[in-house]
């Protein structure tokens, strides 16, 4: 099957339809302000759905913790913006956005336990400052709490549309846990002969469906009252999600710790199969690969920072970071092309520009 996409095509459309922004700061400001606005609306909704009752100390107070730390809010932002761009309102998309964010935070808590991560958004992870059992239980509670807004969707959207949204979420969670299983399996079996295609598959399942594809699909389906075919957002969401995840993984290696909010190089210590690690293992010398393999075969807590720093230096040396930066840019370019294809038929709006601004931000991202 041949691929119809090209950056040239994206840019030629871009030439014909100049973006709504005159300079970088314009779209960055729009992106930040709208992420903050929709994030605040969603957070309010999350608080509304968390019961104010016992047990507080080891459950409901902790449920507020991760959402209150203030993530980027991509998922609710994309969902609400897609809904409004297709003629809907914030009110119509809000319950779905709340569900997405609750489920996302549940994933994060469990993900931190699974990865044995130390920090999340500049604070110790829940299992670190509490314990693993409590953290897992809080994550379970958030998964359940994420279902109730979907039930309440029926009041606003009607039976047919709310059932459609429920099935979107069901698919989203299924893909995410399958993707997570794929990567956890690689780590458990210490798989070291992965390719870029393996990575693209894993990241599609683990990240893209729930970070971009389904938020866009759900928002557009709600906004259009079920008229739009959600499959038209698959490529856009996939390219956006992949660009986003690769860039996030690069930041884990090269950003300032305080700005990034997690431990720098933590992904190397955790043995996370990032594009950089996969590229390095494909291109380094046999004796270096052997050392990397043995580092990844010992328990996470016993892995030392010195070896992790050596692996990072190899990633620079073999061009793994550059390769990943380029791949992220290609993906963002593909996303821009898809955006103009899908959204050009809609009238101009702040929400449409907001989605465009996220892609432009990815293309021009500084590390």
């Amino acid at each position: 099957m041949s691929c119809q996409l090209s950056i040239a095509a994206a840019l030629s459309i871009h030439k014909l339809n100049p973006p709504s922004f005159k300079n970088k700061s314009m779209y960055q400001e729009l992106m930040k302000s709208m992420l903050a606005e929709y994030g605040a609306d969603t957070l309010k909704g999350i608080h509304h759905f968390i019961p104010d009752k016992e047990p507080r100390k080891y459950l409901y107070e902790l449920v507020h913790d991760y959402p209150n730390r203030g993530g980027k809010g991509f998922r609710p932002g994309l969902c609400i913006a897609a809904c409004k761009a297709y003629g809907g309102t914030l009110d119509l998309a809000l319950y779905s956005a709340v569900s997405l964010e609750l489920l996302h935070n549940a994933f994060l808590i469990h993900d931190d336990v699974e990865d044995e991560s130390l920090y999340r958004r500049n604070k110790p992870t829940m299992h670190e400052y509490n314990n693993r059992a409590i953290a897992i239980n809080v994550g379970d509670a958030m998964n359940v709490l994420g279902l109730y807004p979907l039930f309440r969707n029926g009041e606003k959207l009607g039976q047919k549309l709310s059932t459609g949204v429920f099935l979107e979420i069901q698919h989203m969670i299924t893909e995410s846990v399958e993707g997570q299983a794929l990567e956890l399996g690689w780590r458990k079996d210490n798989v070291c002969d992965l390719t870029d295609t393996d990575y693209l598959r894993m990241i599609l399942k683990k990240t893209c469906w729930y970070t971009c594809i389904h938020p866009l699909r759900i928002g557009a389906v709600i906004g259009s009252k079920g008229k739009v075919k959600p499959d038209i957002f698959n490529r856009l969401g996939y390219f956006m999600g992949t660009a986003f995840q690769i860039q996030d993984d690069i930041l884990n290696l090269v950003a300032e710790e305080k700005k990034y909010g997690k431990e720098i190089g933590g992904d190397i210590v955790e043995g996370k199969r990032t594009l950089m690690l996969i590229h390095l293992m494909q291109h380094c010398k046999p004796d270096e690969l052997s050392m990397i393999k043995s580092f990844l075969s010992i328990p996470i807590r016993e892995r030392d920072n010195e070896t992790a720093a050596w692996i990072l230096s190899l990633m620079h040396q073999y061009g793994s970071i550059l390769h990943s930066k380029n791949t992220a840019r290609y993906m963002a370019g593909g996303a821009l092309k898809e955006f103009y294809t899908v959204f050009s038929r809609l009238p101009d709006s702040k929400d449409k520009s907001f989605i465009e601004s996220i892609i432009l931000y990815m293309i021009n991202r500084d590390y």
Partner: protein, 242 residues
């Protein structure tokens, strides 16, 4: 930071736009091949995964049939009934075809035994056969876009004078309310004079549209003047390569 700001100012003085900046950043001439390769690989992965998901969902759908849920959803229920009915009709048509063939064989045998040479063509307007609608079915399944020709013969041994035949046809009715327009059927000839004792062959040319779905389709061919002259044409459409 200051250096970057100066660079930005210089660009603005030069009149460069954000689009130009994007071109600079993406550097399309150098990275085109790599981008194409990466995106192509990504799209393949996406399509494989979507296909795998659809297949898995279908398998679950076949395994799990929630009766209560189906009852609660009248639209789904009707779709299911339509689908099942169509399958039942297909089975019935198969059985009917077999019985018709058997009856044709028996009547031929009887005719031979009694020395009666009357033709037992598929659309003879005879009272004894008024309850039997002949079925014409292609031997091979067809694929969307394909053209085929089936033949039927008409004869009226009892007629004492020529009769005028003017054939008309209906749309093909297929699975899940799918239809193939009657214009896809060409009858050659569609109108003619049938003389006493004459047997006339009619070619039924069927040109399937490129977008028709797989399944069994049936259409009715009748004579505008004589309702006793009728036949059902049945075709089976399959996915290419099936």
């Amino acid at each position: 930071m200051a250096a970057k700001a100066n660079e930005s100012e210089k660009k603005q003085q030069k009149g460069t736009t954000l689009t130009d900046d994007l071109f600079d950043v993406l550097n399309p001439n150098n990275m085109m091949n790599n981008a194409q390769r990466v995106l192509s690989s990504a799209v393949n992965v996406l399509e494989e995964e979507i296909a795998a998901g659809i297949l898995a969902a279908k398998k679950i759908e076949k395994k799990v049939i929630d009766v209560e849920d189906i009852r609660d959803n009248p639209e789904d229920l009707m779709n299911r009934i339509r689908r099942d009915t169509h399958e039942a009709v297909d089975l019935f048509m198969d059985a009917f075809t077999a019985i018709s063939k058997q009856l044709g064989f028996l009547s031929t045998t009887i005719a031979k035994e009694t020395g009666n040479t009357k033709k037992t063509g598929p659309a003879v307007p005879e009272k004894k056969q008024e309850n039997i609608v002949p079925v014409i079915e292609g031997e091979e399944p067809l694929t969307a876009g394909q053209t085929t020709i089936l033949y039927m013969s008409l004869a009226d041994d009892k007629a004492t004078q020529p009769i005028r035949i003017q054939l008309q046809k209906t749309d093909f009715a297929g699975p899940a309310k799918q239809k193939i327009d009657a214009r896809c059927i060409q009858l050659k000839p569609s109108s003619f004079i049938l003389k006493p004792g004459e047997e006339k062959e009619v070619a039924i040319q069927i040109k399937l549209p490129k977008n028709c779905s797989p399944g069994h389709y049936s259409a009715l061919i009748t004579d505008a003047e004589n309702p006793m002259i009728k036949t059902v044409v049945v075709i089976r459409v399959v996915v290419s390569g099936e």
